[in-house]
């Protein structure tokens, strides 16, 4: 049984866009058979929450040099490139 992967989902306020993104990732990864623990935060809070995180997905730029994979994407809001981003997230979590 693989360890549940932790995805930190960030946006500007941690209330609107990251909620949409968190929801979409949880659903899509469940369908792909990947158990994820989703946490939401503001982009500015990412460095303090990064320790046990496997992947950061953000709708807005996050501070540099996090030492963890970061995917910045608006695909879950605009629909543009969503399939590709989901594949990228899956690859990052299976890696």
């Amino acid at each position: 049984m693989p360890r549940t992967k932790v995805v930190l989902v960030a946006c500007g306020t941690a209330v609107a866009t990251s909620t949409v993104v968190a929801n979409a990732i949880e659903e899509e990864m469940r369908e792909r058979g990947i158990a994820v623990d989703i946490r939401q935060c503001k982009a500015t809070e990412v460095p303090g929450l990064i320790d046990d995180v496997d992947l950061v997905v953000s709708t807005t730029p996050v501070p540099p040099d996090l030492d963890k994979p970061v995917i910045t994407t608006l695909a879950f809001l605009t629909g543009i490139g969503k399939a590709e981003v989901l594949d990228k997230i899956e690859a990052a979590l299976r890696g």
């Binding site: 500007g12 609107a16 949409v20 807005t60 879950f76 809001l77 605009t78 629909g79 543009i80």
Partner: protein
């Protein structure tokens, strides 16, 4: 299905064919409507403007008609609501994923949220609306709040 969006959107918070010259004009207008309706605190407008300046909310959709979703922290909100403006001519908003890039925006949906878990359905519907082909163009072309609700309910 966009019942949830319509429920949060008072007709008084719909502004059509707005003549604006900056994103600040639009934010002032919509936040003013929400404040007049008692949906947000007086601090809301300043908080939205500050947030927009540092972390903009423009969403590039790959075409001529882009959308922005200005919003801020829950403590400025009294009752969760939406406000919507269509613009006579696009104004520039920074792109959410690249604040240095400005995109022309023709439809603005202001979000006043106080609880992300309670408002998840509405947020999903906003995202679905943005992704639905033709929906933004139909909103932009609407000449009455009834036509807006017709698009949202489609």
């Amino acid at each position: 299905m966009h019942d949830s969006i319509s429920r949060y959107l008072d007709p008084e918070a719909i502004c059509l064919g707005v003549e604006a010259t900056s994103n600040r004009d639009v934010i002032d207008l919509l936040a003013g409507r929400l404040a007049a309706l008692g949906r947000v605190r007086p601090s809301f407008v300043g908080a939205v403007l500050a947030r927009e300046a540092s972390m903009p909310t423009g969403l590039p959709l790959g075409g001529a008609l882009n959308v922005a979703v200005p919003h801020t922290d829950p403590e400025h909100v009294v009752k969760p609501s939406l406000a919507l403006a269509t613009l006579a001519r696009p104004v520039g908003f920074g792109s959410m994923d690249d604040p240095d890039e400005e995109i022309p925006v023709g439809v603005v949906m202001m979000l006043a949220l106080d609880n992300k878990d309670a408002q998840i359905d509405m947020l999903r519907e906003v995202a679905e609306l943005i992704q639905r082909p033709g929906a933004l163009a139909a909103l932009a072309a609407a000449t009455s709040p009834d036509e807006i609700y017709a698009v949202l309910g489609a």
